[in-house]
Symmetry: C2
Subunit: 190 residues, 2 copies
Amino acid sequence: MEALKQKIREEGIVLSDQVLKVDAFLNHQIDPRLMQQIGHEFARRFAGQGISKIVTIEASGIAPAVMAGLELGVPVIFARKYQSLTLKDDLLTSKVFSFTKQTESTIAISAKHLGAADHVLLIDDFLANGHAARALIDLIGQAGASIAGVGVVIEKSFQSGRVDLDARGYRVESLARIGSLAGGTVSFLE
Amino acid sequence: MEALKQKIREEGIVLSDQVLKVDAFLNHQIDPRLMQQIGHEFARRFAGQGISKIVTIEASGIAPAVMAGLELGVPVIFARKYQSLTLKDDLLTSKVFSFTKQTESTIAISAKHLGAADHVLLIDDFLANGHAARALIDLIGQAGASIAGVGVVIEKSFQSGRVDLDARGYRVESLARIGSLAGGTVSFLE
């Protein structure tokens, strides 16, 4: 998606060979017009798949997921970090290991909002080592729902998440695929 | 805003005289079409005010704020819970007391994205005792920015937040004002 790649080139900051900072437009400050374009692109790629619900994770997945939900005409559920929940009953939970923080946390979805009749598009801002995606897939599976695919805004293709999801047979659509951050430069795949 | 009130009547769950659960469409599952209508209504109410930026707080403020930002054509910043931040430099921070959880937490905004030239619309999903709004106002003030007003999706008018913001001279626009949750029933003001 060219508009996204251009934004990454212009406003992304390479902090290391592993870390790209995009807090100017995606995960702290948000560019709503770009999010609308991203939602439109996800909707285009997953059109006609019978998607009934989008699942994402707080907080940075929410903006692209809601824009995709608007285009596809389906509700969005964001998995919550367990400690932010006031009501603990009827919850499906899964563990997420954060590579950045080297800690494990629990995320949760209310079983009330997701069931066996649902066909889910999973959306997240980043795909790196795939820990968050695997936890969301686990939650969706616990609910008995099926998965149409995984929509990712920015994929760090040099980390293991993409290969892992491909190997498990999931359809992954990443709007920007980064092959390398070496030398402080963003190199896209394709 | 009638569509919102109707949604609250149909899908809101009164948990106690103080607590209204709206996780079916606002703060766990999100109705993107309703969020678009909410964004449209905030934009209508604050049109022509010279707003340059919207500030909200993760996670439930993001969807309505991004839709309002799309309509007004301005970026959205969401204040982050401090522990979720990987980069700690250049941050403005403030403390928020959570009445529900009876704990104090720290929220933060990068000083890079907000400055003295900004005229800010603050948006949040709920206004109850006003703790989150006061912390966001504090952050915006630290950045040297001015405040155009406060947009609230659901105001619990029987708690102290609205009165407090009125007394401080802020313009508050709440799309649904709840006068009482007594007897398990949602009673709207006006």
